[in-house]
């Protein structure tokens, strides 16, 4: 086999970067941090700058911003949470845009690394969602938020033995953990796939240039797919955050 000698590098090498500033402190800056700050800057420039000069007949940028706003406000906040969901549109919109723009680094030429594939980032976002839905639940329903969830009405008393621990674990651990892991694993898998195809292409170019076209074209296809995945994961993260907030507001359903 021609590719028999192909060596895939340790996965660690695809995800860990040297500190470039404030080395070895808890706030050390590496590629992940820089990319996130650049994402934040892009989002801020695009949205704050784009919404400065409002016109009655919108230009392209304003149109894009308004479509994004409608998408979050109508498609997620109000659809999932209800009429009072409009209050959460700024948070959900910022969440969506931040995840979207950090995800899309995975297909940016010469960068090709999504900061969301480092567990710290989705973990922060998931914990934030977790704090918010607990806070909203307790503010609107007090302790009944917790009791209503772990002792659901209409369930036979002996079943509480089974239901209560499950619900408790669900509220406390499963929700934030699955939120974080979903985003992390999707971006990580995409990154590994892209890296593998790119390395395969490079390797084939050196050893058997004819077949290099295969992994190369596949790489292009997967990149297009990754753009979709980046969008979808940002959407799902935001959607689930909205669902959890909505569940805290109206625990009945």
């Amino acid at each position: 086999m021609i590719l028999g000698a192909f060596e895939f590098p340790p996965i660690d090498e695809l995800f860990r970067w040297k500190d470039v500033l404030l080395d070895d402190t808890p706030v050390a800056i590496n590629k992940t941090a820089i990319l996130m700050l650049v994402s934040a800057t892009i989002v801020v420039v695009l949205f704050v700058g784009g919404s400065r000069r409002r016109r009655l007949i919108p230009g392209r940028l304003q149109n894009l911003l308004e479509v994004t706003y409608e998408f979050i406000d109508r498609g997620i906040a109000r659809d999932v949470i209800g009429p009072e969901g409009a209050r959460y549109t700024p948070f959900l919109g910022s969440l969506f845009l931040f995840i979207l723009f950090t995800n899309w680094w995975s297909v940016m030429p010469f960068i090709q690394f999504p900061p969301t594939s480092r567990f710290g980032v989705p973990l922060y976002l998931a914990l934030q969602t977790w704090v918010i839905y607990w806070f909203v639940g307790f503010r609107h329903h007090g302790i009944r938020y917790l009791t209503g969830h772990i002792f659901p009405a209409g369930v036979p008393k002996p079943l509480y033995l089974l239901v209560t621990p499950i619900e408790l674990v669900q509220l406390l651990i499963v929700r934030p953990f699955s939120l974080a892991v979903r985003l992390l694993a999707n971006m990580m898998a995409g990154h590994i796939l892209l890296a593998a195809l790119a390395l395969l292409t490079a390797y084939a170019l050196q050893n058997a240039p004819v077949i290099a076209l295969g992994p190369f074209l596949l790489n292009i296809g997967v990149m297009a797919f990754e753009i979709l995945v980046g969008f979808l994961q940002a959407y799902i993260f935001t959607l689930l955050t909205a669902v959890y907030i909505g569940d805290s507001l109206h625990p009945a359903h």
């Binding site: 992940t32 969440l95 710290g120």
Partner: protein
């Protein structure tokens, strides 16, 4: 610091950690980056975009309402005109009818007056005739009396033969006839 350093993978000392475990620095920087996005967008971008959308919605709604109002107004004016037109037409009809009635009245009055006048004239004529004939009869009576007296005088004056008598009567009748005609 070069780009090469920035994008160099870490080896050696950090190698030991599993790539899937969270790193505090990345969690912290993720939080900082997100909070930057959230605070600036919530402060500047989202209210502005919502305002722009609300403004446009309000504007469009106002435009629609104004159009609706203008249409209603136009319809009102049209109805007004039509009503006025109908009123004018009614009025014209009424005036014509009134004129016709007035003319009729006048005609009837005139006819009645003419008839009355004719009747009066007829009556007067008849009266005149009656008076004339009465007068004539009176005249005749007086004349007959006179003639009778005259005749009597004549008879008395001369003796009358039959021929003379006949001539006298003839004469008398002729006189009467010419007097009465």
């Amino acid at each position: 610091m070069t780009l090469a350093v920035l994008f160099a993978e870490a080896h050696g000392d950090v190698q030991a950690k599993n790539p899937i475990l969270p790193e505090t620095k990345e969690l912290i920087w993720g939080g900082i980056a997100f909070l930057i996005v959230f605070s600036l967008l919530a402060w500047k971008a989202w209210p502005a975009i919502r305002q722009a959308l609300a403004d446009r919605e309000a504007r469009i709604r106002a435009d629609l309402e104004r159009a609706e109002q203008a249409k209603a107004e136009a319809e009102g004016v049209l109805a007004d005109y039509q009503r006025q037109l109908a009123e004018a037409r009614n009025e014209a009809g009424r005036i014509i009818e009134e004129a016709r009635q007035a003319a009729d009245q006048v005609r009837r009055d005139l006819i009645a007056r003419a008839e009355a006048e004719a009747a009066e004239m007829r009556r007067r004529a008849a009266e005149d005739i009656r008076l004339a004939s009465e007068r004539a009869m009176a005249d005749l009576q007086s004349r007959v009396a006179e003639l009778s007296i005259e005749l009597a005088e004549k008879i008395v004056e001369r003796s009358l033969d039959r021929e003379t008598q006949m001539a006298l009567i003839e004469n008398y009748i002729n006189q009467v006839g010419s007097a009465s005609s």
